[in-house]
């Protein structure tokens, strides 16, 4: 039972660029150097446009959602329903003084925001948005995502260290401790999915969910992994309730205290793009990515679900996860540092390891609905 869109490339002659499913495959399939360069350019432009659009939309949505969770209205004056508020804010940040503290490490201070933004941009290229829309599909996708995601803490640490400021330093150290701790749980949750699907490639994981999404098809193990990954990735995003690296009430603004103007905007943008990539990965790994809602071999239901385009499925699932993360942010209070460490090392890590063992037993006994 494969998706009807996947049947199209098989009918094409071998060597045709349309037989490929990612931009990278198409680029390597073409014999013309200019076409390859064109695909390369298309990938860069696509990611840039996506980055800009996501930044604008997500910041606006966050403000609107936060307002309605707090009985307010939110942005309303700039443009219809305030949709141009983000542009106005960006223009304001653009015109602010670009200040680097005299005692700061000049090179690293300027470099840090770009490092912070680099991680989500690289991850944007790996996500399968639909069967035919993906820039590169690595066969070690999960490993690459984990490695690059771990690199994200570098930008924050460098920002805090190079600012030569106590608050920045403490915030960066907290962020380092937090992200490195929670990466363990996040990786354990990802391993559960790797066990279930038997592949590390992101689009392979999506294909493995054609009989049902792992969040419910993996019994309690899949659901537990979903919850653990959601908590751990929220902590890696430095979002409330895990925002102690920024902790306004105690650290001014944490690692980006000394940043102003457009460099601050880069950190801000990185946070929101990170939120998108985490939500997209959650949707891809646990909620089936672009795969429509299929239940085993129920042809009627599966056929009806196939009528909705895969891109819409992906967008809907990602939006739902983003809303969930925002909902959590505007409901829960911030954790203390010791509570944060308690939650990771004494709660999530034991549950994650036990969950991995249970998942291994499930896979070995082939004990889940609609086995292959």
């Amino acid at each position: 039972m494969t998706h009807p869109m996947l049947a199209i490339p098989a009918a094409l002659p071998a060597g045709s660029p349309w037989g490929a499913q990612t931009l990278a495959e198409r680029a390597s399939a073409s014999q013309n150097l200019w076409v390859t360069a064109g695909y390369f350019l298309l990938a860069i432009v696509g990611v840039t446009v996506l980055l800009t659009l996501l930044g604008m939309v997500l910041i606006y949505v966050e403000r609107k959602v936060a307002a309605h969770f707090q009985c307010r209205i939110g942005p309303k004056r700039v443009g219809p329903f305030g949709i141009f508020q983000t542009i106005a804010d960006t223009l304001k940040l653009l015109f602010k003084e670009d200040f680097v503290p005299p005692q700061a490490d000049q090179v690293l201070h300027i470099l840090a925001p770009f490092l912070a933004l680099l991680v989500p941009v690289v991850l944007l290229a790996l996500i399968p948005y639909s069967p035919m829309t993906q820039i590169a599909d690595l066969n070690i996708g999960i490993l690459f995502v984990t490695a690059i995601g771990g690199f994200g803490v570098m930008g924050i640490l460098i920002a805090g260290w190079s600012s030569n400021n106590k608050w920045s330093m403490i915030g960066a150290m907290r962020a380092g401790a937090q992200i490195i701790s929670y990466e363990i749980s996040a990786t354990l949750a990802l391993l559960v999915i790797v066990l279930f699907s038997g592949t590390m490639s992101l689009s392979g994981i999506v294909h493995s969910q054609s009989e049902g999404w792992w969040v419910w098809r993996g019994h309690a193990a899949g659901f537990t992994a979903f919850i653990i990954y959601l908590i751990a990735s929220t902590a890696e995003l430095n979002r409330t309730p895990f925002d102690i690296p920024e902790g306004e009430s105690e650290l001014t603004a944490g690692f980006h205290t000394e940043y102003s103007g457009l460099r601050f905007a880069f950190f801000f943008l990185a946070e929101f793009i990170n939120m998108f990539t985490v939500s997209a990965l959650t949707a891809t790994l646990f909620l089936g990515g672009w795969m429509p809602f299929h239940v085993g071999d129920w042809a009627v239901l599966n056929g009806a679900m196939d009528a909705i385009p895969p891109g819409v499925w992906f967008l809907g699932k990602t939006s739902a996860v983003i809303f969930l993360i925002m909902w959590i942010r505007w409901t829960f209070p911030r954790l203390r540092v010791d509570q944060l460490m308690h939650l990771e090392w004494k709660v999530l890590l034991p549950i994650g390891i036990a969950n991995l063992l249970i998942a291994a037993v499930l896979v070995l006994t082939n004990f889940y609905p609609f086995p292959h």
């Binding site: 009985c71 409901t331 829960f332």
Partner: protein, 273 residues
């Protein structure tokens, strides 16, 4: 998790100084089990999420108001504390700006525009007052924003209000004067648009008439005596900084209602006549 479980509350009686006193002993100290804490934590978090989702899904809960677009339909909280004014007997306590304009224009029989100008001038202060000049509001005011000036009334041979000077510029709207008033003579209103170009405009008389309480005027049966009991007081007369000054571009103060007409228009006259 620093939760302490309350096991039970034991009540007993003890003799203290010859009296029997009920003593409650709360037995605490046994921490709840790990699973119980985990369960109650998750339940608590879910309850919080349910509550915020309720707010998210119900637009009628939104408290933000789009001032000044909704200036005529402003909603005020029940206990909103705005400008001080004399309370008119039996008047509605909380009115919108528009309703206030309508009411003032009907009372004084002027058009709405005139009434609005009037309201800007005196926050809709009433023609008659329930004030005896006892000065309890003045004593209660923490900022010394109120100065009650009394005089000796010739006809009733008693103390009566001459001027009620209020300093809006030093008032912090604590409502202590309203709570201190034994006669329920003053109230805090929904008026809040107080911007002026000269701060001397912020110190003024609240009362429109010098004289005794409205009940004492109504008890007098002779109309001529009633008219001699009250005396017109204007907003910036008496010991206020603006007294004697003329300000250019000042909002035109409406002509005061003649005392005779005001007394004739007094409510409740048929009861005493």
């Amino acid at each position: 998790m620093g939760m302490i479980d309350t096991i039970a509350v034991e009540t007993s009686e003890r003799q203290i100084a010859g009296k029997t006193v009920a003593v409650s002993t709360v037995l605490r100290g046994r921490p709840p089990s790990y699973l119980r804490v985990a369960f109650s934590t998750v339940i608590g978090l879910l309850r919080g999420m349910k509550m915020t989702l309720g707010y998210f899904l119900s637009p009628e809960e939104i408290v933000t108001q789009q001032y000044p677009e909704n200036r005529d339909t402003l909603r005020f909280p029940e206990r909103y504390r705005g400008n001080l004014r004399f309370k008119f007997p039996n008047a509605e306590e909380h009115e919108s700006h528009a309703a206030l304009v309508t009411q003032v224009s009907q009372e004084a029989e002027v058009d709405a525009q005139h009434a609005a100008a009037w309201m800007h001038e005196d926050n809709g202060a009433r023609w008659y007052h329930n004030c005896t000049g006892c000065g309890k509001c003045e004593a209660a005011c923490p900022n010394a924003s109120i100065k009650v000036i009394t005089r000796h009334g010739e006809i009733l041979d008693d103390r009566e209000l001459d001027r009620f000077v209020w300093r809006l510029d030093s008032c912090m709207f604590c409502n202590a004067c309203v709570q201190a008033c034994p006669w329920d003579a003053i109230e805090m209103t929904a008026g809040f648009e107080n911007a002026v170009y000269d701060r001397r405009l912020l110190v003024y008389n609240l009362n429109k008439m010098a004289g005794p309480r409205i009940n004492l005027i109504q008890d007098e049966e002779n109309p001529d005596v009633r008219k001699r009991m009250v005396e017109r007081r204007d907003r910036y007369g008496g010991p206020v900084p603006l007294n004697g000054f003329g300000l250019p571009n000042l909002l035109p103060v409406p002509a005061p209602l003649p005392v005779d007409e005001a007394v004739d228009a007094m409510p409740g006259q048929e009861g005493s006549a």
